[in-house]
C-alpha cells in the first residue's frame, strides 16, 4: 500500500470519475455555447436573455463547478508530476486552490449578480 502524502480526495478512483463527469459537462457546455454563437445573430438583448433564463443559469453554474473540479484535478496532477520540492509544490497547490475559489465566486457573481 502506497502511503498517501498529497492526495486530497478520498482516492484516485473518485478523482478519475470526477474528471470524466466534469469533462462531459464542459464538453456539452462548449458545444452549446459555440453552436449558439455560430448559429445565432447575437444581440445584447438575446445574449442577456439567454443567461437570465433558469435552464441556462443551471447549466452555467454546473459548468463553473465542473470547471473548478476539472481544473483542480488536472492542475494538482500537473503540479505533483513536475514540482519536486515540497514547499514549492504546496505553495503552488494553495495558489491554485485560491485561484479556483476566486473563479467560483466570480462565476456565481457573473451569473446571479445582474
Amino acid at each position: 500500500m502506497v502511503t498517501k502524502v498529497t492526495g486530497y480526495s478520498r482516492n484516485g478512483v473518485s478523482d478519475w470519475i470526477f474528471q470524466r463527469a466534469s469533462a462531459v459537462i464542459l464538453a456539452a457546455y462548449t458545444v452549446f455555447i459555440v453552436g449558439y454563437l455560430l448559429l445565432n445573430d447575437v444581440t445584447a438583448e438575446s445574449w442577456q436573455a439567454l443567461f437570465a433564463s433558469l435552464p441556462m443559469q443551471i447549466f452555467s453554474l454546473l459548468a463553473v463547478l465542473a470547471f473548478v473540479a476539472h481544473a483542480w484535478i488536472g492542475m494538482w496532477t500537473v503540479v505533483t508530476d513536475y514540482i519536486k520540492p515540497v514547499r514549492v509544490r504546496y505553495s503552488a497547490i494553495v495558489a491554485i486552490a485560491l485561484i479556483l475559489f476566486a473563479y467560483l465566486v466570480w462565476g456565481v457573481a457573473i451569473l446571479f449578480g445582474n
Binding site: A23, A27, A44, Q48, F51, A71, V78, I110, N114
Partner: protein, 126 residues
C-alpha cells in the same frame, strides 16, 4: 536500486524522440494549464457582456483590441485541442486506440485536428 551498472546509456539528444502519443498527451496538459489561466479573460468578457447594452458594447469593443482578440483566439484554439484530446481519452477509457498499431493514428488525428482548430478559431475571432 539493484540495477546493472553495465546497461547501455543513450544521452545522444539527436536520437531521443518522444513518441507521437507522448507529444499529443503533453499538449493536452499544456492546453489545460493555459485554460486555467486564460479563463480569466473569458470570464471578464462574459461578465462585461452581461452588464446591459453598454457592457455588451464594451465587451465587443474590447474584442477589437489585438491583445484581447489574440487571447481569445488562443483560448478557443487551446479549448478545441483539449476537447479533441479529451474525446480520445474517453475513447481510450473504453479500450480503443491502446495498441501500438492504433495509438499513433489516433494521436496523429488529434494533432492534425488541433492545427485545423487553430486556423478555424483564428478565422472566427477575426
Amino acid at each position: 536500486m539493484a540495477m546493472s551498472q553495465s546497461r547501455p546509456v543513450n544521452l545522444d539528444l539527436k536520437t531521443i524522440r518522444f513518441p507521437i502519443m507522448a507529444i499529443s498527451s503533453i499538449i493536452h496538459r499544456v492546453t489545460g494549464v493555459i485554460m486555467f489561466l486564460g479563463a480569466f479573460v473569458v470570464m471578464a468578457l462574459l461578465g462585461m457582456s452581461l452588464q446591459g447594452e453598454e457592457g455588451f458594447a464594451a465587451a465587443l469593443a474590447a474584442m477589437d483590441n489585438f491583445i484581447v482578440a489574440f487571447c481569445l483566439w488562443g483560448f478557443v484554439s487551446v479549448l478545441g485541442y483539449h476537447f479533441v484530446a479529451g474525446l480520445k481519452h474517453l475513447a481510450m477509457d473504453l479500450g480503443h486506440f491502446e495498441t501500438l498499431e492504433s495509438a499513433p493514428g489516433a494521436a496523429k488525428f488529434t494533432l492534425v485536428s488541433g492545427v485545423v482548430i487553430v486556423v478555424l478559431a483564428g478565422i472566427w475571432v477575426w
